[in-house]
C-alpha cells in the first residue's frame, strides 16, 4: 500500500510524550524521536502498521481507510434535523434572590413575566411541526414551579399526543406542595436543584433565611427518600473556592451521583456582584483540578459510592464517544435552530440559555424569532456562520479541535466580540486545560485515573481501561 497521511496535529502532553490526534479524532502518544520521524515521513513498517491500525494512513482517495475516516468526521459533526430539546422558561419570577443569579430574575409578584395561553398553544403547534416522536423538555426560570400548572399542561399534552418525552425541572425546591409533588411523582420527571454546600453555605449564598433553607433540605430529603436519590441531581455554585472540598464531601454524604463544578458564571447579576468572575479562569482552574483529583481519589477509595463530575465527563465523552454532539457548551458546528430551542417567558426563541441571559441584560439581542411567528431564518444563518471551528485559523492548528467546540455567546458575554485570538478567550483556555488534563490522565498509567476515566465514560467504575495500545514506543 502506498502510504499517505491523513491531516493530524500534535501537542506536548508531558515531559516524555507528545499527543498526536487526527482530524477524525483518533489519537496516540509517542516520544519526540518518533514524532520527528512522523513529521519527516520517515515511517518504517512497524510504525506504518501502528498508524494503519489507528486510521492515520490511507492508500488512495476513496479507499476503505478514507471512507472510514470520513465517517468518523461526519459522526463528530452530525446534528439531528428535528428539534429534540426544548428549554422552557414559563416564568422569570422567582421566590429567591441569589446574588449570583445568572438570569436576572424578577420578584415573585411582578406581572408580565409569564407564559400566556397564546404562547402555550403556539408551543404545541411548534412541537407538532418541528419534532419527531421523542423530545426532552427542561424547565428553567425564574422559579418554574411558580407555574406548575403550565408544566403539568405540557406533560399531559405530550402524553395525549403520544410523544415520548423526558422532563427536567430546575427548581430551588423551596416550595413543595401537593400540586408540585403530583408532577414530580411522574417517572418521566427529573429534578435539578442547587446545593452550594451544607446548611450555612446554602443559606448564605441563596435564601439568606434559615427557615427557608431548612425547608429546602426537608424537601430534598422527602423527595430522595420517597422517590430515590436518582430523581434529583444537584449542582453547586462557588465563588469562595475554599468551599469546594467540604461541598464535595457533603454531596457524597447525600448520596448524590453527579456534581458539576463551575465557577460563578459571568452572566446576569453576577456581572455586577461578582465582577471577578470575568477573568478568574486561571485561579479557578487550579481549584478545579485539585477538586477533580479529590473526587477521583474518593471514588477509587470508596469503591461503592461514586460521584461523576459532569464537566469532566462531557469533555471526556467528546474524545471517546463520536456522536456526543448534544451539549451546546461544547460541540462543532454549534448551530442554532437545528435540534434545540430556548423559549423565554415572552415566547422569544434563543439558541442557548446564555444567549437569553445576555440579551436580557441588553448586551446584544440574540433572539431569533418567537414561538408565535416562528424562527427568523436570516438571523439564525448569520449566527451560524460563526459557529464552525473548522474554518477558524486558531482552531485548525489545535490538536483538540476534533473534540472541542465553539461558542460565540461566551465570547460576546465577556469580550463584546467574537474575533479575538482564541487562546486569549476564556472558552478556549478552559477547554484546552480540560483536554490537556484528560490526555495526561490517559497516558499516566495511574489506576486512580483509569478507574475514573472508565467510570465517567460508562457509569461503571472499574480498572478495565477504555483504551488500548495508545503509546507508540
Amino acid at each position: 500500500m502506498n502510504h499517505n497521511l491523513f491531516p493530524y496535529n500534535f501537542e506536548k502532553i508531558n515531559s516524555k510524550y507528545y499527543l498526536v490526534t487526527s482530524l477524525a479524532g483518533d489519537f496516540f502518544f509517542c516520544n519526540e524521536q518518533n514524532l520527528q520521524k512522523l513529521l519527516n515521513k520517515n515511517i518504517d513498517e512497524n510504525f506504518s502498521n501502528f498508524l494503519i491500525s489507528k486510521n492515520f494512513l490511507f492508500g488512495s482517495e476513496g479507499d476503505f481507510y478514507w471512507n472510514n475516516f470520513k465517517y468518523k468526521i461526519l459522526k463528530r459533526k452530525i446534528l439531528p434535523k428535528t428539534i429534540g430539546y426544548y428549554m422552557i422558561v414559563p416564568t422569570l419570577r422567582c421566590n429567591l434572590n441569589c446574588s449570583y443569579c445568572q438570569v436576572s430574575r424578577v420578584d415573585e409578584n411582578t406581572k408580565g413575566y409569564d407564559w400566556d395561553d397564546e404562547i402555550l398553544k403556539n408551543f404545541f403547534n411548534f412541537v407538532k411541526k418541528n419534532s419527531l416522536s421523542s423530545i426532552k423538555v427542561e424547565f428553567q426560570g425564574g422559579e418554574p414551579t411558580l407555574r406548575i400548572d403550565i408544566i403539568e399542561k405540557i406533560i399531559n399534552w405530550c402524553e395525549q399526543e403520544k410523544i415520548d418525552a423526558e422532563f427536567a425541572i430546575c427548581t430551588n425546591l423551596i416550595n413543595f406542595n401537593k400540586d408540585i409533588e403530583k408532577v414530580v411523582a411522574n417517572e418521566k420527571v427529573h429534578i435539578s436543584t442547587s446545593i452550594d454546600g451544607s446548611h450555612d453555605i446554602q443559606n448564605k449564598q441563596r435564601a439568606d433565611d434559615k427557615e427557608r433553607t431548612s425547608q429546602f433540605f426537608k424537601n430534598f430529603d422527602y423527595i430522595s427518600n420517597k422517590y430515590g436519590i436518582e430523581k434529583i441531581s444537584a449542582l453547586p455554585t462557588f465563588y469562595n473556592f475554599d468551599q469546594i472540598k467540604p461541598t464535595i464531601d457533603f454531596y457524597y454524604s447525600l448520596g448524590l451521583r453527579t456534581i458539576y463544578l463551575r465557577p460563578v458564571n459571568f452572566q446576569g447579576f453576577a456581572r455586577k456582584k461578582h465582577p471577578e468572575s470575568k477573568t478568574q479562569i486561571n485561579t479557578w482552574n487550579e481549584y478545579y483540578f485539585e477538586a477533580l483529583n479529590y473526587i477521583f481519589e474518593n471514588n477509587y477509595k470508596n469503591k461503592n459510592s461514586f460521584i461523576m463530575e459532569f464537566a469532566f465527563a462531557t469533555n471526556l465523552r467528546r474524545v471517546f464517544q463520536k456522536g456526543s454532539n448534544g451539549h451546546l457548551d461544547i460541540r462543532n458546528p454549534n448551530f442554532a435552530g437545528r435540534d434545540n430551542y430556548i423559549i423565554d417567558f415572552d415566547g422569544k426563541l434563543y439558541p442557548s440559555d446564555e444567549a437569553r441571559m445576555i440579551s436580557r441584560i441588553g448586551l446584544v439581542d440574540l433572539s431569533m424569532g418567537d414561538i408565535v411567528n416562528g424562527p427568523e431564518k436570516e438571523k439564525i444563518n448569520n449566527y451560524n456562520w460563526n459557529q464552525i471551528s473548522d474554518v477558524n485559523p486558531d482552531c485548525i492548528h489545535c490538536s483538540f479541535q476534533p473534540y472541542c467546540g465553539i461558542d460565540s455567546v461566551d465570547d460576546i458575554s465577556r469580550y463584546n466580540r467574537i474575533d479575538l485570538p482564541k487562546h486569549k478567550t476564556s472558552f478556549c483556555n478552559n477547554h484546552i486545560s480540560k483536554f490537556r488534563d484528560i490526555f495526561s490522565r490517559i497516558v499516566s498509567n495511574d489506576p486512580v485515573n483509569i478507574f475514573n476515566l472508565t467510570g465517567h465514560l460508562t457509569n461503571i467504575f472499574t480498572l478495565n481501561p477504555p483504551f488500548s495500545k495508545i503509546i507508540y514506543d
Binding site: D26, S53, K54, N55, D63, F64, Y65, N67, N68, Y71, K72, K75, F320, Q321, K322, G323, S324, L453, T454, L457, T458, I460, T462, N464, P465, P466, F467, S468, K469
Partner: protein, 365 residues
C-alpha cells in the same frame, strides 16, 4: 420445540406452489375466499379451508395463528410455516450450501437448496405490517443475484418489512453497490468476524483469504450505507484477543450498527469440536469484561447473545439479550423458580448440562 414444517392431508392436488395467509373465518364469507387466504375454522385449528379445497392438519402439536403466512409446495404433503406473528424470530432457510467451514458451525453445509423466490415474492406481500424476517443458510449470498432482486422487490412493494440476513460477506462486489444502496435501510446484514488477526479468523472459518475478502465487502457495505451487525462467536481460540478485535472495530469499523458477542450452540460442528472450543464465561468473565468496558467506553453498540443471565455479572445484564429463537429454546432444571426467565436468553434446545456452564442457577443471579 416448535416445528416449522407441518404434516397435512389435502382434499385437492397442489398443481403449483402457492403462499397463503390465515384469516379469521368470522370476517369472511365463503364466496370471498381468494387463493391467498386460508380460513381458520376452529379454535384448536385442525382444518383449513382454502380456495382450492380443504386441508386437514395431521400434526397434533401444530397451533396456527391469525395472520400467519404458509407455503404450500407442489406435490408435497408438508406445509411450511413462513411467518408466525407471535414468534420472537421468523427465519427463512435459503440454502444449506456454504463456502466456509466454521469450526463452530451449527448448520454444517449440505448440498441442498430451498430457494423459491417467485414463491417468496408472493409470501412477502401477505406478511403483516412491519414484519421482520431473518434469512439464513448455509450461505445466502451464494444466491446473491436472486437474493438482491428479491430484496429490491420487497423494498418496493413492502418497504415496511425488515430483513435480517446472516452472511459470511464473501460475495459482495462493486456491481452490487447500487442495489445494496437501494435496500440499505431495510436490511441488517449479520456478518461474522472472529478475530482482528487474519490468520486467526481464517483458521476459524477454515478458508484462506476469508478475512481479506471480508474487508473488501466491508468497504462496499460502508459505501452503500448498509447496516451491519457484526457477529463474533466466543471460543477459546479468540477470547484472549477479543479486546484487539474491539480496538479494530473502534478504529476501522466504527460505522457498524451492532456488535454481537455470541455463545455457541451445541449442535453441528460445534458439538463435534466442543471440548476444544467452548469457552465457559461463567467461570471467568475477565476477558469479556475488558472488551465490554472498552466497547461501552467508545460507544460501540455491544450486545451479548445466547448468554444465560446467571452467567453474566449483574452490571452487564442489560446488554444480554433474549436472543434464542423460540422454536429452539428451553430452560433447564436449574431454572426452576427463577423469576428472570422472561428476559433471559435461556438455553438452546440441544444444550446438555454436563458439557455446559459450570456456574449456573438462581444462586448466581
Amino acid at each position: 420445540m416448535i416445528r416449522l414444517t407441518i404434516d397435512a392431508k389435502y382434499s385437492f392436488e397442489i398443481k403449483k406452489s402457492f403462499a397463503a395467509k390465515i384469516v379469521d373465518i368470522k370476517n369472511y364469507n365463503s364466496k370471498e375466499i381468494s387463493n391467498v387466504s386460508i380460513i381458520k375454522n376452529e379454535k384448536k385449528l385442525k382444518k383449513l379451508i382454502s380456495y382450492f379445497g380443504e386441508i386437514v392438519i395431521t400434526d397434533e402439536s401444530a397451533d396456527f395463528e391469525i395472520d400467519e403466512v404458509l407455503l404450500f409446495y407442489k406435490d408435497a404433503k408438508k406445509i411450511r410455516r413462513f411467518f408466525r406473528p407471535r414468534a420472537n424470530a421468523n427465519a427463512i432457510l435459503l440454502t444449506e450450501q456454504c463456502d466456509q467451514r466454521c469450526i463452530m458451525c451449527s448448520q454444517p453445509p449440505k448440498n441442498k437448496r430451498y430457494d423459491d423466490f417467485p414463491l417468496f415474492n408472493e409470501a412477502i406481500l401477505l406478511c403483516p405490517k412491519n414484519a421482520v424476517l431473518t434469512i439464513t443458510g448455509g450461505e445466502p449470498t451464494l444466491l446473491i443475484e436472486d437474493l438482491l432482486n428479491f430484496l429490491i422487490f420487497a423494498n418496493e412493494k413492502r418497504p415496511d418489512i425488515f430483513f435480517h440476513i446472516l452472511s459470511n460477506g464473501q460475495h459482495f462486489t462493486k456491481e452490487h453497490l447500487n442495489q445494496l444502496s437501494i435496500i440499505s435501510e431495510s436490511v441488517l446484514w449479520g456478518i461474522p468476524l472472529y478475530s482482528h488477526d487474519s490468520k486467526e479468523h481464517d483458521n476459524i472459518v477454515s478458508k484462506d483469504g476469508a478475512y481479506e475478502r471480508l474487508f473488501i465487502s466491508f468497504d462496499l457495505l460502508l459505501q452503500a450505507g448498509s447496516r451491519v451487525e457484526l457477529r463474533t462467536v466466543l471460543m477459546r481460540q479468540n477470547i484472549k484477543s477479543l479486546v484487539n478485535l474491539a480496538e479494530l472495530i473502534n478504529h476501522q469499523l466504527p460505522w457498524i450498527e451492532i456488535w454481537a458477542l455470541m455463545q455457541m450452540e451445541y449442535i453441528g460442528y460445534a458439538k463435534m469440536n466442543w471440548h476444544k472450543i467452548f469457552y465457559d464465561n461463567s467461570e471467568d468473565f475477565s476477558f469479556l469484561q475488558n472488551s465490554i468496558i472498552y466497547s461501552l467506553s467508545n460507544r460501540i453498540n455491544l450486545y451479548l447473545y445466547n448468554f444465560p443471565l446467571c452467567t453474566v455479572p449483574k452490571k452487564f445484564r442489560s446488554i444480554a439479550k433474549p436472543s434464542i429463537s423460540d422454536w429452539k429454546k428451553k430452560f433447564i432444571d436449574k431454572c426452576e423458580g427463577c423469576k428472570k426467565t422472561n428476559i433471559c436468553a435461556g438455553f438452546f434446545e440441544w444444550h446438555k448440562n454436563e458439557i455446559g456452564y459450570k456456574n449456573i442457577g438462581k444462586e448466581y443471579l
